[in-house]
Symmetry: C2
Subunit: 141 residues, 2 copies
């Protein structure tokens, strides 16, 4: 710690993706590239954090891409070797020092602590670390 | 661990906010509610991850809100006691089990590993845990 802004912290799964997508190599790169609907299971330890999440809500899911390579700092964007090596902070590569995935989704059904969302390119078993409501315009928050 | 999707992981600061905003109670709730420009200092350990980040880029900064209360699961949205208690997953409260902040910003200058960005409501010293480029439409990625 010491200098402001430095440090490490523990991040803990608050839910998990339950999806028919199981093959990471076959998954779309982004939700809007043909990803299916999936379930997000909110864990019972944080059940009340999901109070008020309702069908029709636009959410941003944050996942922990636990199969990513955290040592990677540069990639060929979209895995295309004809594109020059680029810092991962200028890309959406899953491989990065803290492999957090960002997924804008719509809630289409809710069954207790299970939220049906779409579209979601994350594969089955991906840990969910946070859920936020999408921000509307400043006058409607 | 054990069951798929469960677990805890270490998240590590990759940069920090350097801002004239120092009083968390005086900071805007969201960037588009009057937040100023600020610097993001990318730490030298991950310098090459910032290769290709350029003036004009639209980025999404992810911060770790290290002053948040991680035990909170329900809040009055926007701190307004007249609004009913709501699960934090249906809000943008900083208080939540994993206090990750999401900040859409534009890069207005770059000086080595320092990125000038705006607007940014995060206060001085806030740890940055990830930086992503904002997704354009599907045909332009």
């Amino acid at each position: 710690m010491g200098e402001p802004g430095h440090g490490t912290w523990q991040v803990r799964a608050v839910g998990a993706v339950r999806s028919g997508l199981t093959d990471i190599d076959a998954a779309p790169r982004q939700g809007d590239e043909g990803a299916p609907a999936a379930w997000v299971e909110v864990f019972s330890e944080v059940a009340s954090a999901a109070d008020g999440v309702a069908v029709g809500d636009r959410l941003v899911l944050l996942t922990w891409l636990d199969r990513a390579d955290r040592t990677v700092t540069r990639v060929h964007p979209r895995g295309d070797d004809t594109l020059p090596l680029t810092g991962v902070f200028a890309t959406r590569s899953p491989h990065r020092p803290n492999p957090v995935g960002l997924h804008p989704v719509t809630v289409t059904a809710r069954d207790g602590l299970r939220l049906r969302v779409e579209p979601l390119e994350a594969v089955d078993g991906t840990p969910v670390i946070d859920i936020k409501v999408e921000l509307g315009p400043p006058g409607r928050r």
